[in-house]
C-alpha cells in the first residue's frame, strides 16, 4: 500500500478529480478539481496550498554539523547564517549529482536538509570522524507550501512573527495560532511563497487555519500538475525527470555534473574540501560538455506545422516529462526533458540538455513535435532561465 500524508483526511475530501499520483511512496493529488488550470492560476494570481509532506527531511546536529554538510554539499554551508537556507546539489566523488535540496541553518549547530530522495545512508557514510548526528525526521515532520502573491498576507494573519522582514531563502521559527512551526521563504514555483514545517500531529490544525485565513484571499489547494507547470516556468529541475541521480545511472552518459545542470553558481570551489571537488575543479577549468537551458518554441513555425494538416495549433496544457529530441543543422544535438504551454507567458517552453556549443541564449534549434501522428520539427531557440521571475519572489 502507498502511504497517506498527514493531510490526507483533508486532501481526500477535496479531491473531486480522483486523480492521484505517487510521490516518494505517498499518494498525493494530481489535481483536486477536474482540471489543474484554476490551481495553476492560484499560484500566479492568489495563493496555492500544496501538501509537500513526501519530501525527505533530515536534522543534522552537532559541533561538526556544518563541516559535515560542507563535506557533502557543493554550496558553502559553513557560511550560512542562522536563519538562512541554501539550495545545493551534492555529488559523488566523480562530481556527478546525486540529489539536490535545501539546507536550512536552524541554529549554530542544527541544520535541516530536505531532498527528493532518501539520503540517510549517504550522510551517515560520510559522517565518520565528525561530531554530528543525523536524524531522519521525514515522518515526524510534515510540510506545506503556500505559494503565490497572497501567500504573505494569508500567513501573516496567523503568524506571531512579522513576515515582512523574512527575506528570500530565510527561515524563522514562528507560531501559527499558537502552533509551533518553522517558516522558510522557499518554494518550487518561482513565486512569492513559503514552506511551513510542522509536527505531523499538528497537520490538520494548521491546514484548517490556513484555509480559514486564506479563503478571503483565494487560497486554493493545488496538486502536482499545477506545480509542474509553475516549476518549469521557474526553470527548476526535477530529479528523475530532468536528470538521473548518479547512484542510479546505469551508464556514465546518464550522469550530470552541477555545471551541466546550470548549478555552477552553487559549486563553491574555494571551499577547503567537498566530495567531488577535484573532478568539479577540473570541469570548471575545461568547461562543461553539456548545459541545461530554457527552450522557447517559435510560435509561427509551430503554427505552420498544424496549419499544414488543416488544424489549429494544439499546445500541451499539462507538462510533459519525456525525452524530446532537439536538432541543429538536421542532426540531433540534445533533448528536452520537461515542457509545457505557459498559460501566463503564452509561450510553449521546455527545459533541455544541449552540448555547450548550442547553449547560448538566442541559438536557433529545432524541437520534435508530433502533429497528427507524424513527427515534425518546429523552430525553437535557447532562452534565459527562469522563464518567469517576478520581482515579488525576492521583494
Amino acid at each position: 500500500m502507498l502511504k497517506q500524508t498527514p493531510f490526507h483526511p483533508r486532501t481526500a475530501a477535496l479531491c473531486q478529480s480522483h486523480a492521484w499520483r505517487r510521490w516518494a511512496g505517498f499518494v498525493v493529488a494530481s489535481s483536486y478539481a477536474l482540471s489543474h488550470e484554476r490551481e495553476y492560476h492560484a499560484i500566479r494570481g492568489a495563493a496555492a496550498l500544496f501538501d509537500v509532506s513526501p519530501l525527505h527531511k533530515y536534522l543534522v546536529r552537532g559541533r561538526d554539523a556544518a563541516r559535515l554538510l560542507d563535506q557533502v554539499a557543493t554550496h558553502d554551508v559553513s557560511r550560512a547564517q542562522i536563519g538562512q537556507a541554501l539550495y545545493s546539489p551534492w555529488c559523488d566523488v566523480r562530481g556527478k549529482v546525486l540529489d539536490d535540496g535545501t539546507i536550512a541553518r536552524l541554529d549554530e549547530t542544527t541544520f535541516r536538509l530536505t531532498s527528493a530522495e532518501p539520503n540517510l545512508r549517504w550522510l551517515q557514510d560520510n559522517a565518520h570522524g565528525f561530531e554530528a548526528r543525523i536524524e531522519d525526521v521525514s515522518a515526524a515532520t510534515t510540510a506545506l507550501a503556500l505559494q503565490g502573491p497572497n501567500a504573505r498576507a494569508i500567513l501573516q494573519q496567523l503568524s506571531d512573527r512579522d513576515l515582512g522582514g523574512l527575506k528570500y531563502f530565510r527561515v524563522t521559527e514562528a507560531r501559527l495560532r499558537g502552533i509551533p512551526v518553522t517558516i522558510s521563504r522557499t518554494g518550487y514555483t518561482g513565486d512569492l511563497g513559503y514552506e511551513i514545517w510542522l509536527d505531523a500531529a499538528d497537520a490538520l490544525a494548521v491546514w484548517d487555519a490556513l484555509i480559514e485565513a486564506g479563503t478571503p484571499y483565494g487560497i486554493t489547494p493545488a496538486g502536482i500538475l499545477a506545480l509542474d507547470v509553475a516549476r518549469i516556468e521557474a526553470g527548476l529541475m526535477l530529479l528523475d525527470v530532468d536528470y538521473v541521480p548518479a547512484n542510479r545511472t546505469l551508464v556514465d552518459s546518464q550522469t550530470s555534473s552541477p555545471f551541466e545542470l546550470d548549478l555552477g553558481w552553487a559549486v563553491k570551489l574555494d571551499k577547503a574540501h567537498f566530495i567531488g571537488k577535484q573532478a568539479l575543479a577540473a570541469e570548471a577549468r575545461s568547461g562543461p560538455a553539456w548545459r541545461f537551458v530554457g527552450i522557447q518554441v517559435e510560435w509561427n513555425s509551430f503554427e505552420r506545422l498544424f496549419a499544414g494538416v488543416g488544424l489549429a495549433p494544439r499546445v500541451p496544457t499539462a507538462a510533459w516529462r519525456t525525452s524530446v529530441p532537439l536538432y541543429a543543422g538536421g542532426e540531433q544535438v540534445g533533448y528536452a526533458t520537461s515542457g509545457v504551454w505557459s498559460p501566463l507567458l503564452k509561450q510553449y517552453i521546455a527545459l533541455a540538455h544541449v552540448p555547450s556549443r548550442w547553449s547560448a541564449p538566442g541559438t536557433a534549434l529545432e524541437m520534435e513535435v508530433t502533429v497528427e501522428h507524424r513527427r515534425q520539427r518546429t523552430a525553437a531557440r535557447v532562452v534565459k532561465k527562469p522563464f518567469f521571475d517576478p520581482e515579488r519572489k525576492r521583494a
Binding site: 502507498l2 516518494a24 511512496g25 532518501p118 540517510l120 545512508r121 551517515q124 531522519d136 547512484n247 542510479r248
Partner: protein
C-alpha cells in the same frame, strides 16, 4: 529400421528438447529418445494426488533464455509465465521481512527494518543489474578455451576481454568480488538487516552442497539474479500448468519443426565404432544409427553408463569422476485443504502469491549446511516455497491448494544411507519447521510427496540427484564445465555431443546448454 536420422538426442529433458528443436529448425532429421513415459526430465507436472497438479521437481521459471522463447515461439506452443510478486521471510520473533516488486512498497517494508538498507537496496539492485549484463554474454556463447591458441578461441577470448574492460573499474572490482566471495560476506558489505541478508544469500546455496559462508556462493547468487523475463532482469515467474508446461511447449515447438520424439525408449548404450559414435542401442534391442548423437544425460551417466570407460582416455574419465554432483536439494509437495495461515501475516493476501523463504538468518542457513556437511540432513531446513494454486488456480480443485516446498539440505551421501523412513523423517523436519510459522499447516495436508536426491536419481537418472547436473561452483563453470578442454559440448568420441546442464552454462530451466550445443554442432558442419 527404415528411418534414418542426422542426429539422435538421448533424453527428453528440456535441454534435449531445445537441442532437438534447434537442429530440426536447421532442417536436420532428429529423434529424441526418452526413457520415461513422458518428456521434460525434471521439468514436468503430474497429478500425484487426484485433482492436484504438482511441479514435482523444478518449480519456477526465470533463467529460461529469452532467445529460446523467441526462436522457438514458445508462447504459441502454450508457454504462459505468470509473475511471482514477492518474497516473504517469516521471522522467529513473529515479524517478517517482505520484498515486493513495487519499488515504493518494497522500500517502505525495508525501511521498517532499516532505513539504510532501504536506501542501499536500490544501489545493490543497480550493481546486480550491471553485473548481470556483464555476465549475460557468457551465457549466450560456447566458452572459449583459455589454454588454446587457436585463432577462433583467441578471438572469442579477446571479445570477452574487451567486454570486461568495458565494465569500468568499479564494476570490474565488483565482479571480481562476486566471483570470489561467499554470498554472506558479499551481502554483509551491503546490508545490516539479518533477514534480508539471509533471504538474499539463500539464492547462493540453491542446488549446491555449500553454505552461505562458502566462498564462491556469491556467484551463484548472481546466477539466480540473471533470470529475466521480457528483458527485465531479476524477474521470477511461474509457468501456468507448472513446469511441465515449459517442457510441453518446447516439445510442441520441436515437433512442429519436424523433430520426432519417442517416449519409453530407454537407450542402453551409445554405439561406438573406431572411436566414433554411430548410433545408439535401445533396451528393446533396437539400434538406431545417426551421424551425431547428443546426450542430455549428465556427464557421469553419459560417459560411464552410456559410452563406457573403455572407449575413453583415462585422464578424461578421471576428470569426469572428479566432477562434483553432491545433490542436496529435496522437494516436499503438498495437497492442501486450506491455505497456510502465517502467524506473522495472518489470513490470505498478496504474500501467498509470491515465494516464501524459510531461512531467517545467515546462521540458520549455515547451521542447516553444517549438518549436511557431516552427512546428516538439516533438522531445520532452508525452504523456498510457492503456492502454485494461488498463482494458477487450475493447479488444484476450487478452494484447495498445492504447495511446492524446495528444501535443503538433504545430502545424497547421507550417513547410513537413505531409506523410506529417513525420507519421511526429512519430510517431517520440513513440515515441523514450517508449521512453526504456519500452525494450521499440518491439519490442512491432504497428501504429501517427499522427493530426496536418491529419488531424483532413480526417477530422472541424474547422478546423485544433483538438480544442476553437477554443482554450480566456480571450478566447474564456464570453460571448466564439465571438464577442461571439453567444455564446448564435444566429447573425446567423435560424433558424440553433450547438451545437458552438465555443460556450460549449467542448470536451472534455462535451455542454454541445449541451444548452444545445437548451434555449436551446426557450426561445426554437423550432421
Amino acid at each position: 529400421m527404415p528411418a534414418s536420422y542426422d542426429a539422435i538426442v538421448i533424453g527428453g529433458g528440456h535441454n534435449g528438447l531445445v537441442a532437438a528443436a534447434y537442429l530440426a529448425r536447421a532442417g536436420k532429421r532428429v529423434v529424441v529418445l526418452e526413457r520415461r513415459e513422458r518428456v521434460g526430465g525434471a521439468a514436468f507436472s503430474e497429478q500425484v494426488f487426484p485433482g492436484f497438479t504438482f511441479s514435482v521437481f523444478s518449480y519456477v521459471v526465470s533463467l529460461l533464455r529469452p532467445e529460446i522463447i523467441r526462436d522457438l515461439d514458445l508462447p504459441r506452443h502454450g508457454l504462459h509465465v505468470l509473475p511471482l510478486e514477492s518474497t516473504l521471510t517469516p521471522l522467529p520473533n513473529g515479524d517478517y521481512l517482505a520484498q515486493w516488486n513495487d519499488h515504493d512498497q518494497n522500500r517502505r517494508e525495508l525501511a521498517r527494518h532499516s532505513l539504510r538498507d532501504a536506501e542501499a537496496y536500490d544501489e545493490f539492485g543497480r550493481l546486480m543489474h550491471q553485473m548481470s549484463r556483464a555476465v549475460k554474454p557468457f551465457l549466450g556463447m560456447a566458452p572459449p578455451d583459455p589454454g588454446s591458441f587457436a585463432p577462433r578461441e583467441l578471438a572469442a577470448l579477446g571479445r570477452l576481454g574487451r567486454q570486461l574492460r568495458g565494465l569500468g573499474r568499479d564494476q570490474f572490482h565488483a565482479l571480481h568480488k562476486l566471483l570470489t566471495m561467499s554470498a554472506a560476506d558479499y551481502l554483509d558489505e551491503w546490508f545490516e538487516t539479518e533477514a534480508l541478508k539471509a533471504t538474499k544469500s539463500a539464492s547462493g546455496i540453491i542446488g549446491t552442497l555449500q553454505g552461505p559462508r562458502s566462498p564462491g556462493t556469491a556467484y551463484v547468487l548472481l546466477h539466480h539474479y540473471m533470470g529475466e523475463l521480457d528483458g527485465v532482469f531479476r524477474a521470477w515467474g511461474f509457468a501456468k500448468g507448472g513446469n511441465g508446461s515449459v517442457s510441453a511447449a518446447i516439445a510442441g515447438a520441436a515437433r512442429a519443426l519436424g523433430a520426432e520424439i519417442r517416449t519409453e525408449a530407454p537407450v542402453t548404450n551409445v554405439l561406438v565404432e573406431n572411436g566414433r559414435a554411430t548410433g545408439v542401442a535401445l533396451a528393446s534391442g533396437e539400434e538406431i544409427r545417426a551421424q551425431r548423437v547428443l546426450s542430455n544425460a549428465d556427464p557421469r551417466r553419459t560417459f560411464f553408463d552410456l559410452v563406457g570407460e573403455k572407449h575413453l582416455p583415462a585422464e578424461f574419465t578421471d576428470a569426469i569422476r572428479k566432477f562434483r554432483f553432491r545433490g542436496a536439494s529435496a522437494k516436499v509437495n503438498l495437497a492442501l485443504d486450506a491455505l497456510p495461515n502465517f502467524t506473522c501475516l495472518p489470513g490470505p493476501g498478496a504474500h501467498l502469491r509470491g515465494a516464501i523463504s524459510i531461512g531467517p538468518s545467515v546462521d540458520y542457513l549455515e547451521r542447516a549446511y553444517d549438518e549436511a556437511k557431516y552427512g546428516e540432513f538439516s533438522r531445520r531446513p532452508y525452504m523456498d516455497i510457492v503456492i502454485p494454486s494461488m498463482i494458477d488456480p487450475g493447479m488444484a480443485p476450487p478452494g484447495k491448494h498445492v504447495m511446492s516446498i524446495f528444501a535443503q539440505y538433504a545430502p545424497y551421501h547421507l550417513n547410513g544411507g537413505w531409506t523410506d523412513a529417513r525420507r519421511e523423517a526429512f519430510g517431517d523436519a520440513v513440515i515441523d519447521t514450517l508449521a512453526e510459522y504456519a500452525p494450521n499447516l499440518k491439519s490442512a495436508i491432504l497428501h504429501r510427496q517427499v522427493v530426496v536426491p536418491p529419488d531424483i536419481e532413480r526417477t530422472l537418472g541424474i547422478t546423485e540427484g544433483s538438480i544442476f547436473h553437477g554443482e554450480l561452483s566456480l571450478q566447474q563453470m564456464f570453460f571448466l564445465r564439465p571438464v577442461p578442454e571439453w567444455a564446448k559440448y564435444r566429447t573425446p568420441i567423435h560424433g558424440l555431443w553433450q547438451c545437458g546442464a552438465g555443460t556450460h552454462p549449467g542448470g536451472g530451466v534455462m535451455g542454454a546448454a541445449g541451444r548452444l550445443a545445437a548451434l555449436e554442432l551446426l557450426k561445426a558442419g554437423g550432421a
